[in-house]
C-alpha cells in the first residue's frame, strides 16, 4: 500500500490551453463531448490507401507540432498570469520519434524568448500515460513544496508513421468508430491534440487572485507487471493507481461522482479498465457515471491524459458530463453506468481521470471542483 508524504501545499490548475479536432480552446471541446458529437473524419493529411482504417480526429489546418504546443502554452500562461516565469519548470509530453528532440528544442527556445521560461525541463515519452505522469509529477513537486508552479504541456499530431504502426498492430477501429466499453467495439481511432496546464500552489494562486479552475486532489501511478503491451485482465494495477489517488486525497470511493475513463475502444483494454473500476468502487460502480471522451476527440497518445484532464476540469465546472459516444449495446463484461446521452447534468465534487499504456503503465488523476 502506498505511504504518501504529508502535503505542504495543495496543487491547483490556474491556466488551461487546448487545441483539438473539436476546435481551438476548451469551449468547442466541451460542447462536443457534452453532446457526444464525434470529430472523426476521413484522413486526407496523408495516404491511408494501404490501411484497414481511414478515419481520425484531426485539426483542419494543422500547424507544426511545436507551434501547436506553443499556442496552448501561451493560452494557459495568459490565463494563469503569474508574476514570475524563469523558475517555472516546463514538463513536456511528446511521442518518441526522430523529431522529438527538434520539437522540444523549438518549444524550449520559443518559451524562453516569449515568456521568459527557463526552457523544457524534461520530455515525457511514455506513450498514453506520458502526460498523465507529467501531471502527477508536477502535482508532487508542488505538493511537496519543491516548486510553487509547474507548467505541463503535451502535443500529438497524427502522422503517417504512427497511423501505419497502429494499423499494423490491428489497434485501429475497423468500422471507423471508437466505441468504448460497447459491444462490437473493434479498436481505437487517433486524434490530434495540444494541451497545456499551469499547476501551482493554491496559496500562491490565492495571493495574486488567480482563477482556480480545479484542484489536483490526488494522483497515482502503477505498473501491471504483466506484458509488453497487453493490459492485465484483472485490472488490479490500474485499481491500485486509482486507490493511490483516492488515498492521497483522503477521498472515499463514494465521493467520486464521475470517471473519465481511458476507454480506448480496445476489446481487451476496456474490459480490464472496467474490472479496475469494479475493484476500486465496488457497489458504488453501479451508480458512478463513466465515459471515455476519446469516443469524441480520439486517442491523442502522449497528449491524451492532458486532453482528458482538460475535459474533466470542464465537466466539473459546467456540470455537464461527457458522453460515451459510439455506443451499440452493453458488453456484459464491462457493466458500467455509462453516460450515453447528453447533455447529462451532474455536479460531482470529485472526478477521476484514468489512463493506461504500453508496458502496463497506469496513471490516475483525481480532480476536485474549485
Amino acid at each position: 500500500m502506498s505511504s504518501h508524504a504529508p502535503p505542504r501545499a495543495r496543487p491547483v490548475v490556474t491556466g488551461l490551453g487546448v487545441r483539438s479536432a473539436c476546435g481551438h480552446g476548451i469551449d468547442p471541446l466541451a460542447a462536443a463531448v457534452g453532446l457526444g458529437t464525434p470529430a472523426f473524419d476521413t484522413v486526407t493529411r496523408f495516404d491511408t490507401g494501404g490501411r484497414r482504417t481511414h478515419r481520425a480526429a484531426l485539426l483542419p489546418d494543422p500547424p507544426q507540432l511545436a507551434d501547436a504546443v506553443l499556442d496552448v502554452i501561451d493560452e494557459a500562461w495568459r490565463q494563469a498570469d503569474p508574476e514570475d516565469a524563469d523558475t517555472t519548470p516546463l514538463l513536456l509530453a511528446l511521442h518518441s520519434d526522430l523529431n522529438t528532440r527538434a520539437v522540444a528544442d523549438r518549444v524550449g527556445e520559443a518559451t524562453s524568448t516569449r515568456r521568459g521560461l527557463g526552457g523544457v525541463t524534461r520530455v515525457y515519452t511514455g506513450a498514453c500515460v506520458a502526460s498523465g505522469t507529467a501531471v502527477a509529477d508536477a502535482a508532487a513537486l508542488v505538493s511537496a513544496g519543491h516548486r510553487s508552479r509547474v507548467l505541463v504541456a503535451a502535443g500529438h499530431l497524427v502522422g503517417p508513421g504512427v497511423f501505419a504502426a497502429f494499423d499494423a498492430g490491428r489497434a485501429l477501429a475497423r468500422d471507423g468508430s471508437l466505441r468504448p466499453f460497447s459491444a462490437g467495439r473493434t479498436g481505437t481511432l487517433l486524434g490530434d491534440a495540444a494541451v497545456a496546464v499551469v499547476i501551482e500552489d493554491e496559496a500562491a494562486a490565492e495571493r495574486r487572485g488567480a482563477p482556480v479552475l480545479a484542484r489536483i486532489a490526488g494522483w497515482g501511478r502503477s505498473g501491471d507487471a504483466h506484458h509488453v503491451c497487453r493490459p492485465a485482465p484483472d485490472g488490479r494495477a490500474l485499481a491500485l493507481a486509482a486507490e493511490s489517488a483516492l488515498a492521497r486525497a483522503g477521498v472515499a470511493p463514494e465521493e467520486v461522482g464521475y470517471v473519465n475513463a481511458g476507454g480506448t475502444g480496445s476489446p481487451l483494454a476496456d474490459r480490464a479498465e472496467a474490472a479496475a473500476l469494479h475493484r476500486t468502487f465496488g457497489r458504488h460502480t453501479g451508480r458512478l457515471p463513466v465515459s471515455s471522451s476519446k469516443s469524441v476527440h480520439g486517442h491523442a497518445l502522449e497528449a491524451s491524459a492532458l486532453l482528458e484532464l482538460a475535459v474533466t476540469i470542464s465537466a466539473l465546472s459546467s456540470g455537464l458530463l461527457p458522453v460515451n459516444a459510439g455506443w451499440l449495446g452493453p458488453d456484459p463484461d464491462c457493466g458500467l453506468d455509462l453516460v450515453l446521452e447528453g447533455p447529462r447534468e451532474a455536479h460531482p465534487r470529485y472526478a477521476l481521470s484514468l489512463n493506461s499504456a504500453f508496458g502496463g503503465a497506469n496513471t490516475a488523476l483525481l480532480v476536485a471542483a474549485p
Binding site: 494501404g50 526522430l98 528532440r101 520530455v123 515519452t125 497511423f163 504502426a165 504483466h226 506484458h227 508496458g359
Partner: protein, 176 residues
C-alpha cells in the same frame, strides 16, 4: 529541479562491460538494438541485486521503472517511417516496440516490478557511463512521493554509428 530526497544505490549494471562483444537478442523485439540494450543493462542490475542463484521471477516488489534516453529508439522510428512512406505494411512487431514503454513492460513482467512505468528524454545529455542528473532527481521524487519503494533507472543511448557503440547503464535505487 531539486527534490532533496537522498537515495542509495542497491545495485548497478550496464552495457558494454569488459568482455562484451555482441548485444544479446531479445525475443519479441526486432530491427533495432534499443530494447535489447535496455534489457541487458536492467537485467544485469537486477540480477546483481537478487543474487546469482535466486530464481526469476522473484516475489513482486513496488519497483518503478524509469527509462531515460535522449536518443530514443531511432532505428525502430526510422523503420516505421520508411515502411509508412512506401505505403507498405509496417511489420506488426514494430507497433509493439514503437514506444520505449514496451521493453519496460517486458522487464516488469519478467521481474515482477509493480511500480510506476516512466519513460523520459533528458534535455541535458548524461556523462557517458553515468545516469542523467534529471533522471536521478525524478527517481528521488518517485521515491518520496510514495508510489514506489525502489526505482530501477536505466539510461540508454542508441548511436546508429558503428564507430560509437550503443551504451546503457542501470541502477536500482532506494531511499537512503
Amino acid at each position: 529541479m531539486t527534490t532533496a530526497t537522498a537515495v542509495r544505490v542497491l545495485a548497478r549494471g550496464g552495457w558494454p562491460e569488459p568482455g562484451d562483444t555482441e548485444l544479446p537478442p531479445l525475443a519479441g523485439f526486432t530491427a533495432s538494438s534499443f530494447s535489447p540494450l535496455v534489457a541487458v543493462a536492467a537485467e544485469r542490475c537486477l540480477r546483481t541485486h537478487l543474487g546469482p542463484d535466486r530464481p526469476v521471477p522473484p516475489a513482486p516488489t513496488r519497483t518503478a521503472l524509469l527509462l531515460a534516453s535522449s536518443s530514443g529508439d531511432r532505428a525502430t522510428a526510422r523503420a516505421i517511417d520508411t515502411a509508412a512512406a512506401s505505403g507498405g505494411r509496417v511489420p506488426p512487431l514494430l507497433f509493439f516496440q514503437s514506444n520505449p514503454n514496451a521493453v519496460l513492460g517486458h522487464l516488469a513482467a519478467r521481474w515482477q516490478l509493480t511500480g510506476p512505468v516512466v519513460a523520459v528524454a533528458p534535455t541535458t545529455p548524461a556523462v557517458p557511463g553515468e545516469l542523467p542528473v534529471d533522471a536521478l532527481e525524478l527517481a528521488a521524487l518517485l521515491l518520496a512521493d510514495g508510489d514506489a519503494d525502489q526505482v530501477l533507472v536505466i539510461s540508454a543511448e542508441q548511436t546508429e554509428d558503428r564507430r560509437c557503440p550503443d551504451r546503457a547503464v542501470a541502477a536500482l535505487l532506494a531511499r537512503a
